[in-house]
């Protein structure tokens, strides 16, 4: 069926795979009609997809260094775009983003702008140059451009801190989904999730992760788009939601002013016994908060997420795998295209979900109706039972007000298909999609950390004479150790005190952004400057985080720069220190300057050899 080599056959292979997945969905739908239970469907969806990823991981096994670290540098542009999109979109993007918009409205959507705009920086400032450099890891670039093991070591520290902050949240998400779909305890679910993650990456490193991520992207995008389109059509909001929900957004504004947006007092919420993590709608869906401070908060959050995107090693390293510099640039564009398919749908899902619930004229609406009547609805009952939704009749009138309906953000993605009356097969599909999103990101992150430790610390610093077999053995052992550490922390359920996903972006931008871009764009940047910048940036950012985070010191944020935005402090300090120290020290030698000149030219050989 497939003649010729693997790369030429990619469109056919993934086309067949997509077709097969759709057939599987149809089979499940038929099985549901035939009376298969919801629980079995959920198990089959998750188990089937995870087995496919494991099979791809096994087939992509390798014993070559460049295949293990950079997938042999032969990943075509469009496929690398899909893999990056899966790498990028985490369990949080998949499950929590629509919920974030549902509760946070316009203010939350700064994340959407931030998590997409960063790719402009990646394509214009970094990706093509790092590809030309020919490095295996991000610290590989820092170590070679600035010279010396200490600079390399600092970059590894920043990379590990940023990526590890992120990865525990991903393993946590795989655990949540696995435990729900397979009906096992959360602690066990975390380890099941970890084993699935390692099956994808252990044997083939970057090569295996690349091809599983493409497969995971296909599953997650199908799982996200089908419900959005189906709900919109079924409930009569228009057959192409992205172009046709304007009226609903406007109506939400009218309903908000009709019901009134009430922010419940913390004491009331506590007295009513609302479970933790559940929220009611208290912020306008599309209204822009007045004033300069609100605008600054929007912009500063977007800035942190954008600069953070351009500094996150698990994203940057995806562009080391393209066949050429030209392909690296194009690949960034494709990545953002594939990301945009989901990101532009999230606000639509939030809108659909919200209008379905709060419009009293719709059959699905619950606000303004008698509570006794609402409690009869099956899905309401089911979600209240698992403490994902809650009703608190504050004014005691027996009618549900907007501020009396509480739910968890995740419910928007997980329950909206049910609310709209879609068959259970869709909920199973959504579980498989969430699993794919969380697994693909976790794989990328664990691999980024393990590769940096095995290549930059073990091979470049500790044992430069190690042979290929030993290097790859160390790399694989580290994968397991890092994965297990992440799973252990996730199973302790302390992620809520570990902080937000946004922290990973802030850590990365504090320590890595300027050393990376100045390494390409400023020849005068010196080793001492880069080292001082990384240390000062990371230290000042972390210090500010401790100073401002409510659970640590909890001081008032300076200029609205709160714990989600501490990267602004870190990166600014990093820039100033790096420039000042660079100018105070002797300019880099001729060889280094020539190397920078070479990086700026797309043609010719890479700076570092094919195998290094």
């Amino acid at each position: 069926m497939f003649k010729g080599n693997f790369i030429d056959n990619l469109p056919k292979i993934y086309g067949t795979y997509t077709g097969g997945f759709i057939v599987f969905i149809i089979l499940m739908a038929i099985a549901e009609q035939a009376g298969m239970t919801a629980k079995t469907i959920g198990i089959l969806f998750v188990a089937f997809t995870v087995c496919i990823y494991a099979l791809i991981g096994y087939l992509s096994r390798t014993v070559q260094v460049d295949a293990y670290y950079v997938a042999g540098r032969q990943v075509p542009t469009v496929f690398n775009g899909m893999a990056t999109a899966a790498d990028w979109m985490s369990g949080a993007s998949f499950v929590a983003m629509a919920g974030g918009i549902y509760f946070g409205g316009y203010t939350y959507m700064a994340f959407l702008v931030g998590w997409t705009g960063g790719y402009v920086l990646v394509s214009s400032l970094l990706a093509p140059y790092l590809r030309k450099f020919g490095c295996y890891t991000v610290p590989d670039f820092i170590g070679t451009r600035y010279g010396g093991n200490f600079a390399r070591f600092c970059a590894v520290v920043v990379l590990t801190l940023a990526s590890f902050t992120y990865v525990t949240a991903q393993i946590n998400a795989t655990g949540t989904i696995a435990s729900r779909a397979l009906s096992i305890p959360f602690e066990l679910g975390v380890w099941v999730g970890l084993v699935s993650i390692l099956l994808c990456s252990m044997l083939g490193g970057m090569r295996a992760v690349t091809w599983t991520q493409v497969a995971q992207y296909i599953v997650l995008i199908i799982a996200y788009l089908i419900p959005v389109f189906w709900i919109s059509n079924k409930s009569g909001f228009g057959f192409f939601p992205h172009f046709m929900l304007g009226e609903e957004v406007a109506r939400l504004g009218a309903l908000e002013s009709q019901f009134g947006l009430v922010k419940n007092a913390a004491a009331d919420i506590k007295a009513a016994g609302v479970p933790g993590g559940l929220k009611s709608i208290s912020v306008s869906h599309s209204g822009v908060p007045e004033g300069g401070m609100a605008a600054w908060k929007f912009i500063s959050l977007a800035l942190c997420m954008m600069v953070g995107t351009a500094s996150l090693p698990h994203i940057l390293m995806r562009y080391f795998t393209t066949p050429s510099v030209k392909a690296a640039r194009k690949s960034v564009a494709w990545s953002l295209f594939f990301i945009a398919l989901l990101y532009t749908s999230a606000p639509m899902l939030a809108t659909l979900s919200k209008i379905s619930l709060i419009d009293p004229n719709l059959p699905t609406g619950i606000i303004g109706k008698p509570i006794a009547e609402i409690m009869q609805i099956e899905w309401v009952n089911a979600w209240i039972n698992v403490k994902q939704a809650f009703i608190a009749d504050f004014n005691g009138d027996g009618i549900l007000q907007l501020n009396e309906w509480f739910m968890r953000g995740d419910v928007v993605v997980l329950a909206t298909p049910e609310v709209a009356g879609l068959p259970y097969v869709i909920s199973g599909l959504v579980a498989a999609g969430g699993m794919a999103a969380a697994m693909s990101t976790a794989d990328g992150l664990i691999l980024a950390i393990a590769n940096a430790l095995s290549h930059d610390i073990y091979y470049k610093i500790i044992d430069p004479k190690a042979d290929v077999r030993k290097r790859l053995l160390v790399a694989r052992a580290l994968l397991i150790v890092i994965g297990a550490a992440g799973a252990y922390i996730a199973s302790m359920r302390i992620t809520s005190i570990l902080g937000a996903v946004a922290w990973a972006f802030d850590f990365a931008m504090s320590g890595l952004f300027f050393p990376l871009i100045l390494g390409v764009w400023w020849k005068r940047a010196t080793r001492q400057g880069a080292i001082a910048g990384m240390i000062a940036g990371l230290a000042s950012g972390t210090a500010y985080l401790i100073y401002v985070y409510p659970k640590f010191m909890g001081n008032a944020p300076w200029l609205g720069i709160d714990h989600l935005r501490f990267g602004i402090i870190g990166a600014s300090v990093c820039l100033v220190v790096m420039v000042v120290v660079s100018l105070m020290t002797e300019e880099p030698d001729k060889a280094t300057q020539q190397m920078v000149d070479e990086v700026r030219v797309p043609s010719g050989k890479t700076i570092l050899g094919k195998q290094h």
């Binding site: 316009y106 959507m109 700064a110 959407l112 702008v113 997409t116 705009g117 790719y119 402009v120 920086l121 394509s123 214009s124 400032l125 093509p128 992205h242 172009f243 929900l245 304007g246 009226e247 957004v249 406007a250 504004g253 869906h285 599309s286 209204g287 822009v288 908060p289 007045e290 605008a295 929007f298 912009i299 977007a302 800035l303 954008m306 050429s324 510099v325 030209k326 640039r329 194009k330 960034v332 564009a333 953002l336 295209f337 945009a340 990101y343 532009t344 606000p347 639509m348 000149d597 700026r600 030219v601 797309p602 043609s603 010719g604 050989k605």
Partner: protein, 85 residues
């Protein structure tokens, strides 16, 4: 100025233009969010539309445009990569 230097000058110019457009869609328009929201696009309040779809689409188009322009610059100075590089 050598060929390499001229190529880098043009590359820098393109980078600056790209980042200016990025700044407009990523930041500038959101400084005037409440003013934007008084108008609408396809029925959506404009500021809402821009962060839900508008700016994201603009970024995608911008990166494709940037990649094509940069390829032209590389071609002009003879720095196009050979297939077997």
């Amino acid at each position: 100025m050598s060929n390499k230097e001229k190529h880098w000058e043009k590359t820098k110019g393109l980078m600056i233009i790209t980042l200016i457009i990025w700044f407009v869609f990523g930041y500038l328009i959101f400084m005037f969010g409440s003013d934007l929201n008084t108008s609408s696009f396809m029925g959506y309040p404009l500021a809402y539309y821009m962060c839900a779809q508008g700016s994201i689409i603009a970024f995608v188009v911008l990166i494709f445009w940037f990649a094509n322009r940069q390829e032209k610059i590389d071609e002009e100075f003879g720095f196009t990569e050979k297939e077997d590089d």
